[in-house]
Structures are given as C-alpha cells and as structure tokens.
C-alpha cells in the first residue's frame, strides 16, 4: 500500500519503484484508509509517500500524522507489531516521526530553504530490514525541512537505529551525525529524507552520460519487498 494524503506527490514514483522491485502496489488515499482501517489487513507492506501533505501548513507532515494517529493509530501499531515493513520517505518520514513510530524530528534545512540535489547514502550496520547489506545508494533530496534532530544521536546509533547516513561531504541540510534515515527498534519501520524511488533506472542518474551508473535506489525497495514476501 502506497498511502497518499492531499498534497502527496511522489506516490506514483514510489509505486513504480515498488513494482519494479517485484511488488504489486496500489495507491490508497488517506481518506479511504481513515474510512476503512481494515484495508491495512490486506497488505504486506506500507509506504508513506513524499510530498506536501496539507501544504505542510502546520509544519512538515504534522496534519497528516495527527490524522493518522487519531484515525488509525491502533491499526498502524498492530501492522508494525505484526512485523510488516513500513517505509516513510521525505514527507512520509516527517509523518512517521510525528506519529512517534520513529524517533527524532525533522527541522528546517540549515540553508533555510528548499534544496534539490543528489546525495550519496551509506548503510551502516543496523537493525533495519530495508538496508541490510545495502551498497551505497545515490539519489536526490528534495526538501526544505529535512535536518534530522535527535537529542542522543550516538545512543540511537548504538541501538542500531541509524539505518542510513549521508556519505562524508554529502550532508546537505545539517542533519545530526549525517543521519539520513532511521528505523524503529524492531527494524521494520524505516524513514529517510532522500528519494531512492527517483533512481531506479540508470538514466535517472545525473552522470549517466559520463558512464557512471550504479548506486540504484531500487536495491532498497527490493529488500523491503523481499522481507514482506518472506514474513
């Protein structure tokens, strides 16, 4: 299930990536899930897709996380407790921190404005099922509020919850300890600011005319989909 709220805009990109990774994805509108929380019972994997839900008028992702918590909070907790993989990308990451499924918060970029550029991500050893054994990924960021803030970044790493870091020199927004993505204590819920769904074929890379392919974000989706199928 790719979940989309009013203002979500990378739902189709994620659905394409998931299908390429072997899933059979479907885009579900938030209103449909709020009306029928049992829709979650029929799916094995959930992605909260990126965009500007409710225009981010209260702060990035806050209205969406409020609606989720009040509408389907319990169903979501059960879904995670059952070990189904959950992914929040960009606005989806901001939403999952808002629901407290993931630790920390996302603040305004150090630059004070929206940035769109490519970054290199590395996956340290962690509990995360989405990034286990993942080679470095190159993909774009496209956000204004992506600076990861956590009172104890070292503790988080020690607990195996830092799933992705910006490679040295690639931290675009001032995130604590170069953190690009974190997982929950169980490792099935991942949130990240960059967009691996926008690098699933080689010619999407800005240096593809220079013969420098590699670093496909597709690998991350393949891990999540495989995990969902095996569990």
């Amino acid at each position: 299930m790719v979940l989309a709220a009013p203002g979500t805009n990378r739902d189709h990109d994620v659905a394409f990536a998931l299908d390429l990774a072997g899933a059979d994805s479907r885009i579900t509108l938030l209103a449909e899930l709020l009306a029928t929380p049992a829709l979650l019972d029929d799916v094995q994997l959930l992605v909260v897709a990126g965009g500007f839900s409710y225009a981010d008028a209260l702060g990035a992702g806050r209205m969406w996380s409020l609606a989720l918590t009040h509408g389907v909070g319990d169903a979501l907790q059960r879904f995670v407790a059952a070990g189904h993989p959950v992914l929040g990308i960009c606005n989806g990451f901001q939403v999952l921190t808002g629901t407290h499924l993931l630790p920390g918060s996302l603040a305004h970029n150090e630059s004070g404005h929206f940035q769109c550029e490519w970054v290199r991500l590395e996956a340290p050893t962690s509990r995360c099922v989405w990034t286990e054994g993942l080679d470095p990924v190159e993909c774009p960021i496209a956000h204004g509020e992506g600076r990861y803030v956590h009172p104890d970044a070292a503790g988080l790493a020690g607990a195996g919850q830092v799933a992705l870091r910006y490679a040295p020199g690639h931290n675009p927004n001032g995130s604590a300890a170069d953190i690009a993505g974190v997982c929950d204590p169980s490792g099935v819920v991942l949130g990240l600011m960059p967009h691996p769904e926008n690098h699933v074929i080689a010619r999407q890379h800005p240096r593809h005319t220079r013969g420098r392919a590699g670093g496909l974000g597709l690998a991350l989706f393949e891990r999540g989909v495989r995990y969902a199928k095996e569990h």
Binding site: N9, D13, E32, G112, R203, T209, R210
Partner: protein, 929 residues
Amino acid sequence: MGGGARLTIRTVAADPRSAGLLADAHALGVHSVTAIDVADVVFFAEELPPAAQAAIEAVLVDPLLQQGSWEVPVGGVETALLPGVTDPAATAVQLAMATIGLPHVGVATGARFEPHGDVNAADRAALAHRLLANDVIERWADGPIEPHFVDEHATADHSVDHVDVRDLDDEALQALSRERGLSLDLAELHAVAAHFRTAGRAPTDVELETLAQTWSEHCSHKTFRARITTPDGTEVTPLLRQLRAATDAINAPFLRSAFVGNAGIVSFSEGRTLAVKAETHNHPSAIEPFGGANTGVGGVIRDVMGAAHHPIAVTDILCFGPTDTDPEGLPDGVLHPRLVERGVIEGVADYGNKIGLPTVAGAVLYDPGYTANPLVYAGCIGVAREGDWELPGPQPGDLVVVLGGRTGRDGLRGATFSSATMDATTGDVAGASVQIGDPITEKLLIDVLQECIGLYTAITDCGAGGLSSAVGEMAEGVGADVDMALAPLKYPGLRPWEIWLSEAQERMVMAVPPEQWGTLDERCRRRGVEATVLGTFTGDGLLRVRAGDLTVLELDTHFLHDGRPQRSMVAELPSPPRGAAEPPACPDPAATLLALLAHPNIASKERVVRRYDHEIRGTSVVRPLVGAAHDGHADGVVLAEPAERHGVALGIGVNPWYGIVDPEHMAHAVVDEAIRNVVAVGADPAKVALLDNFSWGDPRRPSTLGELVAAVQGCCDAAAAHAAPFVSGKDSLNNEYLGSDGQRHAVPPTLVITAMAHVPDADQVVTPDLKGAGNLLVLLGRTHTEFGGSHFALVHDLPLECGPVPAPDPDAPARYRALHAALATGRVRACHDLSEGGLAVASAEMAIAGRLGVRIDTLPHADIATGLFAESNSRFLCEVAPGDVDWFLGAVGGTALVVGRVTGDGRLTMPGVDLPLEAAVTAFTGGHR
C-alpha cells in the same frame, strides 16, 4: 487582545530564516540592525481554556525543535495579512483543532520579528516597509499586532448598479473608463454605448466590467489583431495572422492544434499528444513577487489542464533588475530587485514543488530595464492519449460546473490591471488584483481530471477575468444561464459581480452532460475536490448571469466576443545596423573571459535551480545541472517516462540586448537558439514546436509597435527556415512604469521562445560536459564580426549598437539535421551550443562542467576578439574521440573545424588566454561551491 489568545512559536536553535533577513536588511540600507529573530504567531478569536491551550500546543509545537508561549510579548515588529487575503495556515489550524475535537473558533496567523542592535523606531519602520511586510497583502505594527479574523457572518448587498453610458460624450466616457479601471479606448467605449442604445437600456456595472475584461489586451490581444500601417501608409498584415500563416505554411505532420484554446498541441509519438503553453505574470509579480509568480505557475498549469492534458513539467524564465541596485535610486513604489528576485524564486519553487511537477528549463536575466518591470514567464507541458483532447464543446442542456477552489475576492480585475501601465499608486489600488495560490487544491484537480476523461464536453480554466472569462468563452455561440448564488465561497458577503469577476485560483469550468454529472461528482468527492453546478448551457446564444432571481448581466455572446472594433495602429519600423563592422579592441582576452563567466546572465544559476524540484516523476534524463560536479548548465532538458524509450526536449531562447539593437534579427536568433538547445541534447530538428511570448512596452508608441512588427517578422522567417511551427503564444504589452520623475520606464523588447522537440531515444542523449582528455573539439558553423547586443559589449561598457546583431545563417537547418544524425550514433561525447560570450565562454563552460582542461589553438576567425567572443548564430562545439574525427567532419559538412582538444592539465588555454580551470570555476560560480 480583546478576549482572544495568541501563541508565539519560536525555534529552539537559531531560525534559519534569520540570516537571510539580516543580509537583506543590510542590502536595503538598514545598517543599525545586527540580528533579526523570527517567530510565528497564531491568533485565536476567543479565550481558550488551559486544556485547549495544551492540546493546541501539543499539535503546533514540536518540543524537539520549538517552544511556544501564550504570553503577549513586548516590542518587536509584527505582521499579519490584510483582511480578505486568504490565510491557509489559519485554515489548517482550524482543521487540526477539529481533528482533536476542539470547538470551532476564528484563527489568524502572523509573523513576529525582533531586530537587535541600536535600532530605533524609524529603523523598525524602514525594516517593516522595505523588507518584512508587503503592504499589498500585509499590515505591520511596531509591537504586538491586533489580529483580524474572517467575518464568517457577513452579508452581501445583492443589488446591481446601472451605468448609463448611452448619452455620454467622449470626455465623460473616458472619465468613466479611468474611474472604473476599464482600460478601454474611445472606439471601444463608443461600441459599448452604441450597443446599449440599440438595446434600449443602460448596462449594469457587471456588464461593463465583463466587457472590459473580455476586451482587455490580456484576453483579446487587440494589438496582435490590430490593423497596422506604417507612416508611409503601407499596410502590415495583423501580427497574429502572420504567425498563423507561418504555421499553416509549414504544415507540420505532427501538429494537432495551434493558436486555438488554452495550449498548443502536437503529437511526436504514436497514440500520444503533448500540450505546451507559456504565460507571463509580470504585473502581479512586480507588486507582490511571491504571490504573482506563484499564481503565474498555477495559471499556466491550468492552461494545460484546460487543453485536456495531464501536466508533466514546468518551465520558468525570469528577468530582474540588478540585485545590487542602490535602494535610494529606486523609482517610487518599486520593490528592490533583491526582494523581487527572492519572492519570485520562492513563489515559483513553492507552487512547482508542492504541486509535484519538475521545474526544468529556464533562464534568469538581469538588466536595469527590468528594475521597475520584472518579467516572470512560466510554461507547462502536458501529455494525453491521442484524441482525448478533441472535445465537442458545450451542448445545449449541458451543466456549467465549476470545480476546485472556492471563490473569494482575490484578484479582482486582474485582466484589466495587467493591461494598464503601472505607476507609484499601483500597489495601493491593485491590492485586490493579487491572487494567492493554493497548489495542493490544484494538485487534487490534476488527479481528478485524469479520472474524468469522457465525462465532459468542454473544459477551460478560470484565469484572468475568472468565471466571466471562462463561462463567457465557453458560452460563445451557445449561451449560458448561471446563478452566482450557487458558487461556493471562501467567506460570505461577496456581491454578484465580485463572484463573477474574481480571479480566485485553482478553479476549472466544465460543460457536463446531465447524465454524467453523478459520476463526475462522485469521482470529485473521492479526491476531496469540490464540484458545483452553476447553471446550464442554453442554446439561445445569450449569456445570462443571475444572483438568485435577480438578473445582473444579459449579453449576446456574439457582441461580447466579436463586438470589439478592430484597433488601428501605426508602426515605425526600426532601422538597425547591419552588414560588416570593425571588430572591437580586446587587449586582455583572459580578463574578458573571466568577466563574461562572472556576468550575472552567464554565471551559474545553481542557487536558483536547486530551489526547484527537478527530479520528481523520475523523468529527468538531461536535467538543468549536469557534469562531473553537477554544476554545468545543460543546453536543454530531456524528459522521458522511466518505462519509455522516447522523450521530449525543451529549450529556451531569449536575448533582450539583441532586441534593443535589431528586433527582427533578435527574433530570428532566439528561435535559432531555442532550436539549437534541443538539437544539442539529442532532439530531432524535424520535430520541433515553438511558443512565442512577447513582453513589450506600450504599443501605442509607433516605434515600440515597429519593434514588435519587426520581431514578428523575424519569428516567422525563422520558423519557416527551420520548418518549426508556432503552436501557441502570448503577448504581455504595456510593461512600462510611469515614474514619479515623469519618465516612462519600459522593458527591453523581450521575446522568449520555447522549443519543444522529440527525442527519439532517451538513452542516447548528449550533455555539454567534457568527458575525456585527448578528445578533440570541433566547431560547427560560421563566425562573423557580430557584436551588436553582445555580452562582450556589456562587460566592456560598449554601446549595444557597436555592430550588427548576429544574422541568420541560411545553412543552419541542414547543419542541424546532419548534427542530429551524428549525435544519434552515440559517438559524439559532448555537445554545446554557442551563445552569449561565443566560443571562449562555450569551451570554458564545457571545461567547467567536465572539470577538464581545454586548449583552443585554432580560431575560426583571423580577429581574436571575433574568434573568441562573437556570438554568431547556429554554432556548436562538439567533443569527439581522435579516432572519430574524420567520420565526424565528413558527417556534419563543410563548416566544421577542429579548433582544439580536451586536456588533463587543468588549464584553459586559448589565444591570449592561459588560466587555471579553477579561476574559471570561481568566476562562474561566484565561489559558492
């Protein structure tokens, strides 16, 4: 605070907005301030019990990032929106309160600024005026501000006024036009008076306003349809007819629709059509840069939706005054270019990023001619299945349906405003002309329209003129009867004419057969889009607008659309310098090259481009920034769906400095440049469609109109030469500012050409970054001593008329076909078009993008200045492996010349130039890497 409450929210760490504000404050002349702290404020119309305060704070304040306070602070400068300006953040707070079960109260939002340093009341006032509050949409207070809440119980006066124009003399008619801001000339006013004399009644105020909107320059293109003569009596074919004739003569097999409806439509690949459109939003952006640019993007996206296509990308071309303009020297009422630039870029970014479309091709130009009249061009392309756009049009009995955003007082009289010259009071009187964008509502419209194909017989967007223009156009010949009392409103209290003329954004109007209404309404509800029936298309040819039982307008649609008398105008054609010229002196080519690379028009636009999401949809195959360090500018962009082989390229041509010297050759040159840009990235020159967008001064001045006539001539000649049809266009005239000095400030003649072209194989695209040391550099095309309007002239303070503007090259089309065939083999490693700054700048840009050295040892002209810096048309620089050179020279024809090679020594070496590459990178990027 009379019984209300306020929550002040500040960040725990330094607010990233503060640094930018401080830099702006200093640049705008307030030097006493040493820091500016920022906070957000939420106002509540009623006192809140502690439990409610705690619940709200838990939603609005993230304790890891922010702290909230319910105390009323002391001092500072606070801003809030003017009454009537949409406040989406307040609406969002109300939605959040409802979600957590709190009762409905009035909410408003504002911002708080706390300047530090030795700042007195005069400094605070200067800060507020120049930087913190735009008085077109905001109020400010020295200290805590008193909020203004939306009156949710206002009532409207539903009466209509009659304005008897039938017996007015010329003076009284013109006075009426001025007082009501109708922007109609005497002949048009006579036509209106005559019509109502025949009808035997006085027009209502709504009818007058509707005629003024429909007959405005913005909506009816009177100049482009005018009868034009030169002073010696020679008749010039009306300009729009010339452009259409050029397109008809080309008879391109891929053309589906040109100069009709909301956008041009072509088909480059089986079963698929593309719609393309570009618009200007100059006047609104001058007085409220963020909102003006924001809604400019929103408007052009709706144009593509109004052509029944699904938007896939956005473009923008921006023209500003120099950002280092002395604030003291600005004409009265003119915003500083620095603020205009910031607001416009944020406005484009906000809309494009939130609606989820990549903002790709573009340009940013700076010239003192744009200080009082900044120009904002926004474009959009969309895709549809072949045939889906061919709609039958409204049928008698079809429902008039408005969908999307609600109607408020936003943007009243925008069309007439945009057709008038601005002066110092424009910001005051035009406050209501500024619209506020809501990209999320438009995003939902995009989604739902994809699901509604086949459910409607006609569709158009609500742009300038609002419902009056949208319903008026659709009703042409058919007639419609609509009731303004049915329109969903943002707040109560609007009069019927306000509803009818409001330019509230994010609205589309459809003709829906009654039997399809249920399905359409259900699909809209699923997506949370509001759809409302306003009336029916009648079949009687009359446009009838009611407010309940009261008829406020009844006009024959034939008179509305065809009743305007054709304008007669006089054009004095320019006589530009042409032919051979002496080359300019060039004592220090290295210094010239660095000055060119650092010139704001040529230097890196990375800081702008990175503000736009150009990655979303995953379709960007050649993006605006390319190369080893992702900081080289691509010639054009290429978009291709990830699952498809073919793609589409977009290129832009614009050069106002040529326009000042020789408008006809300027037009030819910028058409050529736009086509060069798409050919350079791998597009097929046999499948190119063009858009023209003119921003000009007042065409009632014969010399200004003469420049326009010359430019249209150049457009038509270039289109014919390249067999590339114009498919749509738009003109924005009267871009002039009447300063308090009594001088008229007009923009330079600014023609933006957009080329959209077919890319047969998106895996076989080419970028300008150099790929490997040892490869050879081959120049294609002819080089002449052409420095008129050149950037060489600009950086050396030479008169722009120092020589001829680059002349058309008759061999260009054949050269482009040959180059395309060569690029399609994949054997050409890099390709870049030559434009501003000529061969020297082009080779330096390729070197910067590839982070490799260049050695140019053969120049294409005996004169060094000409060889390095002339801007002759239709030239490319290509990188090929040594073993491919003979093949390439044979493939691309007689003008090709090996001029140098790629080196690994990290230097730029040319006759008179020997620089470390790093110096060029620093000049180009301003050291911002």
